[in-house]
Amino acid sequence: MADAIIPNFGDDEETDRKFVLICSKGNLDMAYPGLVLANAALGEGIETHLFFTFWGFDMITKSRMWDLQFSPVGNTAMHLPGRDTKMPQALSPMPGMTQMATKMMKKQIADLGIPEVPDFLDQIVAAGGHLWACRMSADMNNLTEADLRDDVDGIINASDFIEMTDGAQILFI
């Protein structure tokens, strides 16, 4: 008869692991890697920050965050749905193709029970994640805090970012 094995959830170890994701893309498909990883890191009890810059700003801009799109243009890995057949590159820029590809990708994501981008960020914030916006991107686009999600912690400049990420693991997406 053995003693019960007690899983080590690592709670007692003081960890200073800090995870920072730089979200620089505004395409639907490139929004998700950062969200999925941030959510996973939070679920492991790791302090997590997301920094939105350049096109990534669309993920936190109220007027745009529901409308991220996916385009097959320039994506040679684009297949026809459920098959190994490559989609001819010449078809990619056809009118309506981006809308169709976006709709299909959104459906695939929803079918897995994965939330839309703004809902996903709600979940990340509820799990204790922090959202930061890039000062230069805000200035370039004439955006202020009023244009961004209310739960954005702040608009910070490059020095603030360097200071904040002391000792952090940084992932640029």
């Binding site: 008869m1 053995a2 003693d3 019960a4 899983p7 029970g113 939330p115 996903f120 799990a127």
Partner: protein
Amino acid sequence: MPTATIAGHEVQINDEGFLTEYDEWSEDIATELAGNIGVEMTPRHWEVIKWLREDYKEKGETATTRRVQTVGGFPTKEQFQLFPKKPAKKMAYIAGVPKPHGCV
């Protein structure tokens, strides 16, 4: 597969200490498992754990924190309050179901 005596019951566990047999779970076992990881069970904890077990029985896989929120109706924030730092794994451990394998 190792066995262990938990709350007076001999149960099968895996190498991380998670119960491997759904039907070997009981409330007194859950209370002891919770105590092992520093969770004190309240009525709300039981609601989550019992929902997780019901959902597992129905779906054959462990709900992710996302599903515990959207389908179970337990907000993410509350999950982190009830099962600090690593809610998904802690809930699964106490509920006697495997760790969730989904990403989100």
